[in-house]
Amino acid sequence: MKQLKYILLIVLFITGFTNNIIAQKGVTATEISGTVYESSTKKPLAGAKVSIPGVTSAITGEDGKFKLLKSIKGAYLVIDAPGFASKTITAINNTKEVAVFLYEESFKGNNEEAAMPFGTINSLSSTAAMAAHQNKEDYKLCAPTIETVLQGNFSGLNTVSRTGAPGAGANMFIHGFSSLNATCQPLIIVDGVQYENQTTYSLIGGNNISALSDIDVKDIDNISVLKNGASIYGSKAANGVIIINTIQAKDPSTRINFFAYTGVNLEPTNKYKMMDASDYKSYLTDMLSSGGLTSSQIQSLSFINTTKPVVENWGISGNKDYYRYNQSTNWQDEVFNNSLNQNYHLNVTGGNDAALYAISFGYLGQGGLVDKTNFSKYTTRVNAKIKMTEWFKLNTNMSFIYSDRNLAYEGLDKNFSPVYAALVKAPFTAPNIYNVAGEKTPNLESVDPLGVSNPTAIINNSTAKNQRSRFTGNLNALLNINKFLDASVLIGITSDKTSEKIFLPMAGVSHAALPNATVTNESQQLRNSFSQINADAHLTYARTFNYAHKINANLGTHFQSSSSELDWGKAYNSSSDEMKTLGDGDASLAQTGGSLGDWKSLSTYLNADYSYLNRYFLSVNAALDGSSRFGKDAAGFKMLNGKFGLFPSIDAGWLISSEGFMKDQHFFDVLKLRSGFSITGNDDIGNYSAKNYYTSEGLLGIYGLVRGNVSNSQLQWETNKKGFIGIDISLLKERLNISTDLYLSRTENLYNQKTVATSTGIGYASYNDGTLENKGIDLTVNARIIDKPNFKWDITTNISTYKNKLLAMSNDETFTTISGGTVRTKVGSPIAQFYGYKADGVYSTAAEATSANLKMQNADGSLVAFGAGDVKFVDQSINGVKDGIINEKDMVVIGDPNPDFIGSINNKFQWRQFSLTTLFTYSLGNDVYNAERASLESMSNLDNQTVYAVNRWKTDGQITNTPKATYGDPMGNSRFSSRWIEDGSYIRLKSLTLGYDLKVKSEVFKSVQFYVTGNNLITFTKYLGYDPEFSTGSSPLSYGIDSGVTPQSRSILFGVKIGL
């Protein structure tokens, strides 16, 4: 660490030295005059303040004119007027007369303030590839989680809701996928402190929950997405950075905002069309008979037999279960329901000269589509800025959030998932038992004779609760050392706890057997705690020389220590469904488990931003990062008994429109070129992969120790190298703004768990192996189409495209099986392509099948010919030869989950006090493997199928695209093939909001806004599943695989915001 001390000394020396020799002035007596107009009326605007901050200022007169007597070469003119968006323009050399058009406050122009790692920056001066967002109107989205805000507002950020489960949140991918096995999720910085957002392990099948979802939208002040130039965060920044700042008091005056909304979630309309009772019975009979049952055996089954029961003197004749199995139930209707949402939020900002505070409280109650699921959260936040002395300030941010989710199992689980059980459940059964007289009883049905749980019983009798709490507290001391030098010391504490409580009853719910027992009921609990300490100290040197050379530099060090603990327990077979604790189960079946994690990192970083005449910008960032996860022999610098990686970046910007030669053109308001190159890392390589350790191995209940791994002492971070070129253009008096970024990134040293030779005695070892490339374009256009005093129309569109390609890996091809599908990752191809058989219809006749002469190879090597009613799988020619056998050699790429384009279209209309906004999001050209449909149309078992199965092949010559139904599907007609790959493109009206600003002239109320919002109202898609927008796992390998997710709800909500 000696190096750091030297660097520190050198910086201190240089700053002291330059203080003494540079003291020239760049202020000239050049006059600048001009006129400020209101854009919508084109009339001059009086009372606007025009200034060169710190130098001179003027107020416009009735004619909108101003005159500044002094000027600085290249200085920014800042124009502010109450009710209008602040505007910054460059005073181009020798410009005498400028015309400035101001737009109303909510206008999104090209020079907003954007949050950066070290404070905010005017986007005119920014060199990074980034997107910024001010949270002004987001409350109108009525979004239960803040990921919704991230959707549609940031180009290059692909935010995909995980599922429609309440409070499920979203996965986020910036610029494609920069890793295969390490995380692809961006680093999140909240109020200057890293916010760990990994999804926590959940016992509730199919659910992934991360901490970010618990933050309340209305606690957010602004968000920036740094797609590049984040080297300051070194080994954690390879997936980009999202900077979130929470509410702050802007001035001491007391402001109170009260928010409330309530509304309804609507049942999905695009349900699967399952067979009805009579179609299903016919299907079931076919299936049972192909399973080897004789027709008399089938007729004797209680759910087939159609003899009505008659109560005789001696008992019951006929089928006593007739009425139980001759109902007609639409099971999807039984599990989905409309539900209510409500939200109340209060925030107060204010203070005095010495202290500013922002306090908020919130409650959210969000209903789920699946009956009895919901999400509620309670949020509190206190942010304060305290001025201790003129040179010493303390900032604190504290928040405590508690959330409670009542969830349902997701996925293809007919025991526990109410939705999937509803799909496959026999429609002739009913939720309640019908007695021999045909009367409905209040008792719920138990598991049916086909082994499917009663969805209503799952909903009513089971518990699947997830409770989370997170405390974050930061204390930041800011010290002004001298005119140019500041110091900051920050300590941040995060404590995050998750607990889960699950009870799956015996009544009505089917259970898989344990290896050592049959299961009647099960109780499960989980505790997960995570804590993190962040300590950061840095020096900031900010100075402008001659009003021309502006330097802002930060040098600091950041230490992070994290630990996590997971404990879970499962108990089985308690004596009653009323006995739900872990202790009530059979002790010999109890299972426990867990894990402990511990990781630390130390980063020393430098950031230096330099600009000349506000025209040329240069930004240099570098971090020297060490981590407890890196191997002792990793590449990098040896320091502190460990290895450190260097992550530098350089970005440059050129504001061409401020050049002297541009002063006579009026086409470009802003023309800026940006470019940069950065190296960042991904340290998600496992806490202990670089260390040798021993795990326990039991024999007769005594545990010995055996080798746990073969460590890789050279294991290092993944290295992401990324270059970009960007252009920002403003035209037509800033009414048309275009920003585009072109990037090329390569992740080298991909973290990989590779299968090693069997003779090593260890299954896998961790390696850095492989290179992944992503390239793409982001384009944002925002335009004010109509700009009339009473009517305004803005459009903002984002469009992004990326292509990824695996450039190198020692295993040329790797295959991963997910939900019955195979994804292939091959060198030279995009990652995670769907890899399976190509299907080409169904053999209509035996003659057709004979002439095709294709055979299938059974696992034992025997060959069976495909016949009439089987799927025509394409026999690929290998080296020009078709071998006539359908086997794994005939598997080809049948789909690519990567979209061609993703983006959003945001329209905003304003008419008097009314506003109407629509947000469309879209994903085009992506394929989806619909594993749920593959299972609902497999026609291989007794589960109910979609109506597609009605059309199944039955007789020779029948022309159909549905193969025959055979129990067990011996010919593999339902194998992973192009039958299950669908076009997952969609355009969704994510939100539509109609707002009304009440004009208030009250002592009490400062503002009142009413609005009504519709979410997910319309989705245009050909996708056959519930919902084309889902992201069950954050791994790129599971992208685009629909393994049965709850759809997102359509909701209509009414809200109000009252400012006091």
Binding site: M1, K5, T389, F392, L479, V489, A513, L514, P515, N516, A517, A537, G556, T557, F559, S588, G594, S595, G597, D598, K600, S601, G626, S628, L640, N641, G642, Y688, K691, N692, Y693, Y694, T695, E697, G698, L699, L700, G701, I702, Y703, G704, L705, V706, R707, G708, V710, S711, Q714, V756, A757, T758, S759, T760, G761, I762, A765, N858, A859, D860, G861
Partner: protein, 630 residues
């Protein structure tokens, strides 16, 4: 509040620098596992490591049994066999076959290598004394040699790994994975075993001599550990070093004789006359005294070898099973300690009935044996012992004694299982029998036969030492005890001189004399021979072998050898020895010009397919050994 700016700056500077002050700031310790620096610090760690190694060994049961039995002739595929099993049975497997994956064996080997590496380091660092080191190190080496021998008899080319593979750099170094064939492997393993500091039992282990209770059952741990003499004896036998081999086997047998006052000697395959209510025959098939013509007095205690628990003291003060069992691994039935054999063999409960006894084993081996005196034609070690008909299908029963409930004990105290009753079908307790006395006797006999002592082999195989070395006088009378008979010896040259004993390691003393002259209780006095203990007639020898068994005619020796291997099938069938036995002898015969090894083996396994009326596969040089999954 007055705050000094300078002091504040100094404090903040100190904070800044203090981040970088301590060198171990980035150190973390693995909490969910034991970091290598915290292991191998004392003998407790050493014993824990050995216990973990045996935990890994216990995972090998399925592979060892399937490879050695299904590839050979005693086990066939049952209706629910997996594709991999069918291919193994038909010798059409490829490297992707589950049973061609040697990973589990190499897990044992990796851990053994790691332990030995660390034991050496501990010795160097004085964390362990020479005395503590020796038996433990040798134990681990023996396990590794056993695992390699198992690989060697199955696979074509075996990477012979001795490096502890501490980091992935070692994985990429091909010199750590030299490939050997069985011909190179066996001498290597012999030199490995010869180099160990001690061949004695590792009584230092924290677990030796202990009985532990788990899942409500007691387990006696002495039979848990490999015996070094025996593994070395086996290796010599594979290498055709017969005297060396017999020496090791004999050394093991002598160890058990240390306490000579015992009434029942260990590992002597004993028999004695059973009088109802007075003495208990142990592990013996017999009839009540004087009732051997009456099937209702039939008594099968032999199967108790498989039904008794390791901790069962029987009627004696010592652990009963130790008289027979040498190496056995128990599964308690609790989660994580599950017998793999229930899934493989049982056809009820949680069994999947993947494998079954071959028709050949039943019809041509067990059901053709002739019993002593009464001439009943069946082998008590077969029906209701090694196999039985359950629900109308033949089932390998040897491993299922802990699964089914005991139905009843008949009048003769023979226990019977109730196949319809399983107390808890999910409690899959069981045992894996790796080595026991009868096998040891047959192996020792195999060595003795080839070393020039076929009579000794004949005695151990058939009806014991006493009966076969009770030389007669010229007049046909038996010589009296005190004249030096009833021990393994060359035939006396005259009627007066004692017979000249066989030299060590072939000298076995079976003398017993109560009165009036000498009280003699020699260790081998109760040895009844492997067939004798099963109440079977001696094998009938062809003329060229003749009763004398002294003939060292090659064909005679080979004939005896074949008889020993066949007897091993009858005695130890399904116990995971068969393929190795056939291969070892086939290699020997091949060297003696009896054809290619593959051809000899092909002829041997053809019996199974012929008896099952299936087409026999062709075993040749290319599939005699398995391809190894890389």
């Amino acid at each position: 509040m007055k705050i000094s700016k300078k002091i504040t700056i100094v404090i903040i500077s100190l904070v800044l620098i203090s981040f970088s002050a301590c060198n171990d700031i980035l150190d973390t310790t693995v909490k969910e596992a034991v970091e290598s620096s915290n292991n191998f610090n004392n003998t407790y760690d050493a014993d824990n490591a050995i216990w973990g190694l045996y935990g890994k060994v216990s995972n090998l049961a399925e592979n060892v049994v399937v490879l050695n039995e299904l590839r050979a002739d005693l086990i066939d595929v049952a209706p629910n066999a997996t594709v991999d099993q069918i291919k193994i049975n038909n010798h059409t497997e490829d490297a992707s076959n589950k049973y061609c994956d040697p990973s589990l064996f190499y897990e044992v080997i990796l851990n053994a290598n790691d332990i030995m590496y660390n034991f050496n380091k501990m010795l160097k660092d004085k964390k362990i004394s020479e005395a503590e080191y020796g038996p433990r190190y040798s134990d681990v080496m023996a396990v590794r040699c056993w695992a390699y021998l198992q690989l060697g008899i199955q696979f074509k080319e075996i990477p012979y790994v001795t490096d502890p593979l501490e980091s992935v750099a070692a994985l990429n170094d091909s010199t750590n994975f030299p490939k050997v064939t069985i011909d190179q492997l066996i001498p290597q393993l012999i030199s490995d075993m010869e180099s160990v500091p001690s061949l004695a039992i590792n009584t230092l282990s924290a677990y030796y001599g202990k009985t532990i209770t788990t899942n409500g059952k007691p387990f006696y741990l002495n039979m848990q550990f490999i015996n070094k003499h025996i593994i070395l004896g086996d290796l010599y036998l594979w290498n055709d070093q017969y005297v060396a081999s017999a020496t090791q086997y004999k050394a093991y047998m002598d160890e058990a004789d240390a306490t000579a006052s015992k009434t029942q000697m260990k590992n002597k395959v004993s028999t004695w006359v059973w009088v109802n209510g007075t003495n208990e025959p142990r592990f013996q098939i017999c009839y009540q005294r004087y009732k051997d013509q009456d099937i209702s007095s039939y008594r099968n205690m032999w199967k108790e070898i498989f039904s008794r628990s390791s901790a069962d003291a029987g009627t004696s003060s010592n652990i009963g099973l130790q008289d027979e069992m040498i190496w056995m691994i128990s599964y308690s039935g609790a989660t994580g300690s599950v017998s793999p054999f229930i899934k493989l063999f049982a056809n009820s409960g949680q069994g999947e009935y993947q494998l079954k006894p071959s028709a050949y084993a039943i019809d041509s081996l067990w059901e053709t044996q002739v019993q002593q005196s009464n001439g009943f034609v069946f082998d008590g070690r077969g029906r209701e012992s090694s196999f039985d008909n359950i629900n109308g299908s033949p089932v390998v029963l040897k491993y299922l004694y802990d699964y089914y409930d005991i139905n009843s004990t008949d009048d003769n105290s023979t226990k019977h299982l109730n196949y319809l009753s399983i107390t808890n079908q999910y409690t899959k307790a069981g045992k894996w029998f790796l080595y026991r006395a009868a096998l040891l006797h047959l192996r020792y006999a195999e060595a003795a036969n080839r070393a020039g002592y076929p009579r000794l082999a004949y005695a151990l195989l058939n009806n014991g030492i006493k009966g076969n070395f009770d030389w007669k006088k010229a007049n046909g009378d038996y010589r009296s005890d005190k004249e030096g008979v009833q021990y393994s010896s060359f035939a006396p040259t005259n009627d007066t001189d004692p017979a000249r004993p066989y030299p060590a390691p072939f000298y076995l003393d079976a003398r017993q004399n109560d009165a009036p002259y000498t009280y003699l209780r020699s260790p081998w006095r109760d040895n009844g021979g492997v067939r004798g203990r099963a109440f079977l007639n001696n094998i009938t020898t062809p003329a060229y072998v003749h009763d004398g068994i002294g003939d060292d005619h090659n064909d005679s020796i080979q004939w005896i050898e074949q008889s020993l291997i066949k007897e091993a099938a009858l005695e130890c069938g399904f116990e995971g020895q068969r393929w190795g036995d056939l291969l070892r002898v086939a290699r020997r015969n091949s060297k003696e010009g009896k054809g290619a090894v593959a051809t000899i083996m092909n002829n041997a396994i053809a019996h199974k397919f012929n008896a099952a009326k299936k087409a026999a596969p062709s075993l040749n040089e290319s599939n005699l050994f398995l391809p190894m999954k890389k």
